[in-house]
């Protein structure tokens, strides 16, 4: 039987506010335990929540960016459950009327195809505190610094059909929230956490299979591994004649397996009801218009502009505009005089690959956009070939050179364009290659390539390939 995978994602995005959603405590990461927790965060009797305008603004920004319906009147509800890191006994969230409904995100898959991922909703809520189980022998420690940190929970429809699509969506969303500057995107610190709802069904079946929810995926790599394992596991269960039971599972990166957490039948009943402490959240027309006016150019619009302004193919434009930092890098290089197509190739290709290799973000790139521009200018004016440029790039990357020209100079990489000099090398090579010359004369075109290759090698890659080609042809025809 052939199986179809069905995935929906819920992402908790921590908003970049300075203070908590309902209290004046700081949200800065890494403070000593409980030094950023007020009486509201501790749920002391008589304390009341006061809503943070900045959190509401960021949620609206997100809604506008994904073309969603922004509810200018939304409602906070209490989600009731008991856990020591939730001192109130409920989490303030949104249930029936979230601030953002609908909308969509376009993702690009590895093969260049695009897919639209529809979103169900995005709602505002507060984070819980942190429990520490290992530090004390007989007790659990509770740190409430994180309690009350504003989150936007973003929920998709069950529209993804593979772990690759899920990862592509998560990456696109990660890029977008950073682009909008509503989340710092730091996955190690838990600013961007995904839960994946996964089920399988025979191809052609309309009804969904029973889903299991993989909690707290905090890296794209783990997301792919966890979903792949979960899918294989579910298919095996069904093919063995067993039933999938709805459950919450955790992924263990050490074993690469997903495992069901203790089943909590009662815990599913959160008994949501509107929070009497919080009247409806209203985004006034004035506030809505102000946020709309402050929106940055969105990836979709920027992609279209890159295509028309720089004459880039859609594939390049799409990859360059997935996050703000990458598009800024490209535009800085272009504005510094680099050829746009070459700048696009280098940004998507060499720069991106080297960043991945060294696990760096583009903001941390050792080769600045202006240096890339200098490098591309030297390719364009014929000083160096594209291949030599890669050597120069590596040298700059590892910090062994002050500037593009200094590296070219110091390493003697300057392309030889002097006809006399190239002719001299060609003559030397031809003198040693009577067989190839004979082959070429008897009609074997490949022999020409082999001679050109030898000349390039003899010049240590510094000869201009186009010129070499022309000179060799002239000399042996």
């Amino acid at each position: 039987m052939t199986w179809e995978v069905v995935i929906g994602l819920e992402t908790h995005v921590q908003l970049t506010t300075a203070s908590k959603i309902f209290s004046g405590a700081s949200t800065a990461f890494g403070a000593a335990p409980n030094t950023q927790a007020t009486m509201v965060d501790l749920a002391l009797p008589g304390s009341l929540p006061v809503m943070n305008k900045g959190a509401a603004e960021r949620a609206v920004k997100f809604g506008l960016a994904i073309g969603a319906k922004v509810n200018q009147r939304s409602i906070f509800a209490r989600k009731n459950y008991f856990y020591p890191d939730l001192p109130k006994g409920y989490q303030i969230s949104q249930f029936e009327t979230p601030i953002v409904e609908g909308g969509s995100l376009t993702i690009t898959l590895d093969d260049g195809t695009e897919k639209i991922v529809e979103l169900t909703r995005a709602h505002l809520e507060e984070d819980a505190g942190k429990s520490v189980h290992e530090q004390f022998d007989h007790e659990t420690g509770v740190d409430l610094n994180r309690a009350g940190t504003p989150l936007l929970e973003i929920v998709t429809e069950p529209v993804m059909r593979s772990s690759k699509e899920a990862v592509a969506y998560a990456k696109a969303l990660h890029g977008l929230v950073r682009y909008l500057d509503i989340c710092d995107g730091n996955m190690q610190e838990g600013s961007f956490r995904c839960d994946a709802n996964v089920s399988v069904r025979p191809v052609g079946q309309k009804e969904f299979g029973t889903r299991r929810e993989i909690k707290n995926l905090n890296s794209f790599k783990f997301m792919q591994q966890a979903i792949d394992f979960e899918v294989r596991w579910q298919i095996e269960q069904i093919e063995d004649g067993k039933k999938i039971v709805q459950a919450t599972v955790l992924f263990n990166p050490e074993t690469g397996e997903t495992k069901a957490m203790r089943s909590k039948e009662d815990a599913m009943d959160y008994r949501y009801f509107p929070d009497p402490d919080l009247p409806p959240l209203v985004i006034t027309d004035e506030m809505f218009a102000r946020i709309k006016a402050s929106m940055p150019e969105l990836p979709e619009a920027k992609c279209a502009r890159f295509m028309s302004q720089y004459g880039l193919p859609k594939y390049d434009a799409r990859l360059l505009t997935q996050d703000g930092a990458t598009s800024a890098y490209f535009e800085t290089a272009t504005q510094a005089g680099a050829d746009a197509k070459l700048a696009a190739n280098w940004t998507i290709g060499e720069v991106n690959a080297t960043l991945n290799r060294d696990e760096k973000t583009i903001e941390q790139s050792p080769v600045a956009a202006s240096q890339l521009a200098d490098l591309i200018k030297r390719i364009s004016d014929g000083t160096i070939s594209n291949k030599i440029a890669k050597t120069v790039f590596e040298t700059l990357w590892s910090g062994d050179g002050a500037s593009v020209d200094a590296v070219i100079e110091a390493k003697g990489l300057k392309q030889i364009s002097d006809v006399g000099a190239i002719e001299k090398i060609v003559d030397e090579v031809l003198a040693k290659s009577p067989a190839q010359i004979a082959d070429y004369k008897s009609g074997k075109e490949k022999a020409l390539m082999s001679i050109v290759g030898m000349v390039m090698k003899a010049s240590a890659g510094k000869a201009n390939p186009a010129q070499v080609n022309e000179i060799v042809k002239r000399k042996i025809s």
Binding site: A18, G24, S26, N34, M51, F136, T140, G141
Partner: protein, 95 residues
């Protein structure tokens, strides 16, 4: 709609309120009374009336996003049954 003793026990458990078998009977009667009131309200014609999520006809006040709170941990932890190394301590929770 009327509630069974099992419903009462479940609701009590969800709210972490201990209810003795004797109390279940009393609570059941009281909650049933509340449900009767709800039934009466259900009968009111509310067509064309915008649902309210809050008892007061007001909107949420918004404050500017500024971290204003001081660190009052020591004061707060004097009120806690147990604390150490800055943490509030609770009986071990094993997940």
């Amino acid at each position: 709609m009327s509630l069974t003793a099992t419903d009462i026990e479940r609701i009590a458990h969800l709210a972490r309120i201990r209810v003795t078998p004797d109390e279940v009977v009393q609570v059941q009667a009281k909650l049933d009374g509340i449900f009767k009131l709800i039934d009466e309200m259900q009968a009111v014609n509310t067509q064309g009336v915008q649902p309210m999520s809050h008892g007061l006809d007001m909107v949420l006040r918004l404050r500017d996003d500024v971290a204003t709170a001081a660190n009052e941990r020591d004061k707060f932890q004097k009120n806690a049954p147990q604390s150490a190394e800055g943490y509030f301590l609770v009986p071990k929770v094993i997940e």
